[in-house]
Amino acid sequence: MARWRKIGLLFDISKILNRPEWFFEYTQAPNVVDMGDFLRIYFSTRGRRDTSGNYVSLSTFVDLKSIEPLVIKEVSFDPILDLGEPGCFDEHGIYPISVLRETNRFLGVYGGWSRCESVPFDVAIGLASSVDGRKFSKHGTGPILAANEMEPFVIGSPKLRFFKDKYYLTYIAGREWTIENGRPEIYYKLRMASSENCIEWKRFDKDIIADRIGPREAQACGDIFEKNGNFHMWFCFRNHVDFRENRINSYRIGYARSENLIDWERMDIELGLDVSETGWDSQSVSYPNVFSFRDQIYMLYLGNHIGRNGFGIAKLSGELE
């Protein structure tokens, strides 16, 4: 049976010197693109908080020549996408971004954030493309996937894949905002959609992953990996409330398997990832991205405080069924 072996913190933000202001803290939601002779990892980072406690997320990348041992080729100090104009869905943040490399272009789907009054934020999903994968331009000033009747708000955490003859998107849709100790808290569910052209999406209109810790389980980051015609998904989930500091309620990484991309069987026990006893990922593990590099399957993931220190890596020992 296969299992994950943790290697440790791979990318430590504190070791990246002379970072620009917008690249102050956090490396969140890593997503790998195979560039042939090197690996590009897109991630999102935050600038300093302003006097109101607000911050802005932007996305960038690091190129690796090798994972074991870690050899960094370049860390980009230029954000791959600019924030939207006033009133646009991505005015206050671009987080996360998932990039698909095609023959002549890179396609990116991203969560665009805008701040609200009664709740802290709303999110919708935008599309962008790039020739070199370094600087992206947006498809329109608005989102390609936003709220609809059954998905009323917070459409985010997108991951883009191409299988057989279609694009697939995993994403989250907010289900409910509740007030907890005077503060709005949200839970969201993993959803999927498919598309011929990456612009017009047909939604599956269902929750794709069964709840494990109750109806208010919050799920995010559905990361699909294909192996021998089977589909494996890693994702993260947490309790609806008290998840920021409380180890019990914080994020864990779950696992589900599917043969058709529509019906998923959740099997966290088999290949999920739990927190460590001590160290950088002892409180929470989240935002998985699974990829194959030089015949080895790896998972990038975030540890305590959802990526404040950087992101870590585990590798699979044994074969995926």
Binding site: G87, R115, C116, G140, T141, G142, N148, F153, I179, P184
Partner: protein, 325 residues
């Protein structure tokens, strides 16, 4: 040719009547119930933070004298829950009668932190007599898209030629003002649907009515069919800036005609009327109703409907012959 001004038929002037229940009566939206015309409108209440919420009410008029007969007594449609598109108001509320049902189109408001607000459109289903509505779902049926980035509102739905048509507005720009606020510019768009719920935007991001200048904001389109291959639209327009205090830049009525529901020819003269005290500074939020041999146009006048709404009317024959000139 001018429309005849029937005056402020629903007067909610704050100082005038202590019993007045309504603060503002905005965006009048009439439906024809035979001997009675019911007009849905939005009025304002303050929330716990002292900010305005727009809520829907209705008033029924005797259809010949246009005297008010009856006013809604309970909540007509609830605002949305925390975080939803219509949490902070419904304005306007466009009601149609289709297949012996009442369907309401919600223009829902939700506050933002940099710009003041965004809007999206949702669907509600009425009870048997259309006095009360419930939303189909928590979320909207039409919201921001790649080429219509924000402020999707002011729905006007008509079932014509075997399809549902919706005219609505979409925002094109939020412009910074001298005092670090933002003002919005929007234009009129068109969507079609087979079921009244799932909408296609064949002309997404393309305004269907030409603007007189770049700063023109167009709102509240309302379309009726005058005869075969002749459609009439009214709307209102204002400048992006200075429209609250400067009469020159305030809302005025605009009009356009079309033979195919795709190409529209603007001709604001088709909605000329003699304004008087209630409508001499501003004319906005129009909505059309054909009744017998007349076309009635319900609208707000000065101060965006603070004092209520009024009506202007014209013989249909006169309008048709002018539209064909």
């Amino acid at each position: 040719m001018k429309w005849q001004n029937r005056g402020l038929i629903f007067d909610v002037t704050p100082q005038k009547n202590e019993m007045n229940r309504f603060f503002y009566a905005q965006g009048p939206q009439p439906i024809d119930l035979g001997e009675v015309i019911r007009v849905y409108f939005s009025s304002r209440v303050r929330d716990v933070n002292g900010k305005f919420l727009s809520k829907v009410n209705w008033v029924e008029f005797e259809s010949i004298s246009h005297k008010p007969l009856r006013i809604s007594e309970r909540e007509v449609i609830a605002l949305g829950e925390l975080g939803t598109y219509d949490e902070h108001g419904i304005f306007p509320f466009n009601v149609i009668q289709y297949d012996s049902r009442f369907i309401g189109y919600v223009s829902g408001w939700s506050r933002r932190s940099s710009v003041s607000v965004t809007t999206s459109i949702g669907v509600a289903i009425g009870n048997s007599d259309g006095t009360y509505f419930e939303k189909r779902a928590k979320g909207p049926c039409l919201t921001a898209s790649a080429n219509e980035p924000f402020l999707i509102g002011d729905p006007n739905v008509k079932y014509l030629e075997g399809e549902f048509h919706m005219w609505y507005i979409f925002g094109i720009k939020w412009s910074k003002t001298a005092d670090s606020g933002y003002e919005r510019t929007y234009r009129i768009g068109h969507a079609i649907s087979h079921d009244g719920v799932t909408w296609q935007r064949p002309s997404e991001g393309i305004q269907i009515i030409p603007a007189l200048n770049d700063l023109e904001a167009q709102a509240m389109p309302s379309v009726i069919q005058l005869e075969r291959n002749l459609y009439f639209m009214v709307f209102c327009y204002r400048n992006t800036f200075g429209f609250r205090e400067n009469h020159e830049k305030a809302y005025k009525l605009g009009a356009a005609i079309s033979s195919d529901l795709i190409q529209w020819e603007r001709n604001d003269n088709l909605v000329a009327f003699d304004s008087n005290s209630w409508s001499n500074e501003m004319a906005c939020y129009p909505n059309l109703l054909e009744k017998e041999d007349k076309i009635l146009l319900y609208m707000n006048g000065n101060s965006f409907g603070l004092n209520g709404f009024g009506m202007i009317e014209i013989e249909k024959e006169t309008l048709v012959s002018n539209a064909k000139l």
